[in-house]
Amino acid sequence: MDQLFVNYVQAAAVIIYGIGFFTLFFNPNMIKKIIGFDMMDSGIFLFLTAQGFLYGGHDPIVDPELVGAQNYINPLPTGLVLTGIVVGVSVSAFMLALTVRLYYRYHTLNLDEIIRLARKEED
């Protein structure tokens, strides 16, 4: 339990991820779903960056006075986060485009309502 307070950033990241996950899954509003997706991604990115960070660590550019890996933070998670952000942006863009199409066709953003309308349309 005490570990939870030491790693409070990671704990916060998991909570943000959870909120995003449930919003994406359960909230019927398309825009809120997309916000949920972005929160979910942000949670993971926070988790990853926090794991790469080291208190008292320097930026990962070699300094002749500082010898040894323990003096530097890990730059790789930051690189991964950048890649992840790019992926997240393209997915959000696709989702937003989809939402525009749905709104033009059904004039609502509520997915439950849209599914009901689509089913009616079919019959």
Binding site: Y17, F21, L24, F25, M30, K33, F37, M40, D41, I44, F47, L48, Q51, L76, P77, L80, T83, G84, V87, S90, V91, F94, M95, L98, R101, L102, R105, L111, I114, I115, A118, E121, E122
Partner: protein, 500 residues
């Protein structure tokens, strides 16, 4: 380094450039260019397959940075075999649904359809070959976007829009879980390449460190990729997406896309986590149970369908269950059976979807089974292909499905525990259920009652691509069914490089 060793990467580059170039071309040129690129991919991967069959697996270092720093692709027999099979099925699915692509997709956007096909093939190649787990994540997401676009791309939207939305939401949940698992694994091992990661995981497990994060990572990985692979409790998106898309999209999505994710899961479980660590966490048991449930419930739900394409989609869910049962056995033979099923289903289901497209043509475009009464007689070629597919699904000897059932049964018998009995029962029940819904379908399709069908285009007009695709599909299906020996030999030769 020999020239052949470059071929898998070359095929990846060809597909990437094909996707980019097709955006600039007009529809017809894009079609031809995409087909030529797919054929080149097929040829290159076949060369790689025969090379690895003779010389064993090899690792291709991207930018020549060696492990554990660089990015790499690992080419083994199984990887090359699956990549060739995927390219082959992709070509045949495009040819088999070509007419419907031109009908269903807006004429100014036909080239974009082929862009998506190219990107889908690209991502499948990378999911099969990559040895870097974060690269896998990035291409999982690209694959999601490409396949969602393939579902959505129809002239008349409507149901496909809703289907795409559902598919997209479930896919995003799945890939975020996968990304979380990747992050956890990276944090506890400090590697992104699969082999160094695997060594570290085994060391941690032996020393008893970080067991809880490891379990969470294994579970998230399993659940994330099972959502994308449509394992039973997470299958809800599949029937809508596969049932409402155009013929080629349905064929490609259920024949190939699911398999890409599932093969990635198999690869990560074997190469990174290791089957012994996995068995310690009881993940195979969980996958086995859900796979077994999928085999039965997919078939039961398929029986209730009146729409032929939805019936085929539910049948995919039950077939995916076979793969997970093979994986869930957790033995070498089980994994081999899972890979055989990946191949067998990849050559069978697209054929059934293309045949369903043929039946729609002679039934006034309806997907309802009732409207297709006698369609098999009016369109004998699709009828023959559908029959071959049905025989394969039921598991009649000489057809692809029989190879799966044989290897899976052997794997189950070799396991010799309560799982063995359960697997045998489920295989028998599922076979009977398959027969129960496919045989009435066939009898409807070949019914002599023609009075129900007052359609204008009553008889089939064949086009060369369609005929070629169906004939090749039938030949390949029978080849997989009859050449089970050499196929299994090749798969067993490839298992060590998978990390067994």
């Amino acid at each position: 380094m020999e020239l052949v060793q470059n071929f898998p990467l070359l095929s990846i580059i060809i597909m990437t450039s094909c996707g980019a170039i097709c955006t600039l071309l007009k529809g017809k040129a894009a079609k031809w260019y995409c087909l030529v690129c797919l054929a080149a991919t097929l040829a290159l991967n076949l060369f790689a397959f025969f090379y690895t069959l003779q010389n064993g697996a090899y690792v291709y270092y991207m930018g020549r940075w060696s492990a554990p720093w660089g990015n790499e692709i690992k080419v083994g027999v199984i990887e090359a075999l699956l990549a060739s099979a995927f390219a082959f099925v992709m070509i045949l699915s495009v040819l088999g649904g070509l007419e419907h692509i031109l009908e269903d997709v807006e004429s100014t956007k036909v080239n974009l359809y082929f862009v998506m096909i190219a990107f889908l093939m690209l991502t499948l190649l990378i999911l099969v070959y990559t040895n870097d787990i974060f690269t896998a994540y990035v291409f999982v997401e690209i694959n999601t976007i490409a396949s969602c676009a393939l579902v959505m791309m129809r002239y008349k939207p409507g149901k496909t829009l809703v289907a795409t939305t559902k598919y997209m939401i479930m896919s995003l949940l799945g890939s975020s879980l996968f990304l979380f698992a990747v992050c956890i694994l990276y944090n506890i091992t400090g590697h992104l390449l699969m082999e160094p990661m695997g060594q570290e995981v085994r060391r941690l497990y032996a020393e008893g460190q970080y067991l809880f994060p490891l379990t969470v990572a294994i579970a998230f990985m399993g659940v994330g990729l099972s959502i994308k692979g449509a394992l039973f409790p997470f299958h809800t998106w599949l029937p809508d997406a596969h049932g409402s898309a155009t013929t080629t999209s349905s064929a490609v999505l259920s024949g190939l896309v699911l398999k890409g994710y599932i093969f990635l899961l198999i690869k990560i479980y074997c190469r990174v986590i290791g089957l012994d660590v996995l068995a310690g966490d009881h993940m195979p048991d969980v996958l086995f149970l859900f796979g077994a449930a999928a085999m039965v419930i997919g078939s039961v739900r398929a029986m209730q369908q009146t729409d032929l394409k939805r019936l085929l989609a539910y049948s995919s869910i039950s077939q995916v269950g076979y793969i997970f049962v093979g994986l869930g056995l957790g033995t070498e033979a089980g994994i081999a059976a899972a890979i055989v099923q990946i191949l067998a289903h990849a050559v069978t289901k697209p054929m059934l979807f293309c045949a369903a497209g043929g039946f729609m043509n002679v039934s006034g475009g309806s997907r309802k089974l009732q409207d297709m009464t006698g369609a098999g007689r009016r369109d004998p070629l699709s009828g023959a292909a559908f029959l071959v597919g049905v025989f394969s699904m039921i598991g009649i000897p000489l057809f692809a499905g029989f190879t799966t059932k044989l290897t899976l049964t052997q794997a189950a018998l070799g396991h010799g525990s309560v799982k063995c009995v359960l697997a045998l029962i489920v295989i028998i029940v599922s076979t009977v259920l398959n027969a129960l819904y496919y045989i009435p379908t066939v009898s409807t399709l070949f019914s002599a009652r023609n009075d129900l069908t007052p359609y204008r285009n009553r008889y089939a007009h064949y086009h060369v691509p369609y005929v070629a695709a169906m004939v090749l599909f039938m030949i390949v299906n029978i080849c997989v069914g009859t050449l089970a020996g050499p196929l299994l030999e090749a798969i067993y030769a490839g298992l060590p490089s998978l990390g067994m």
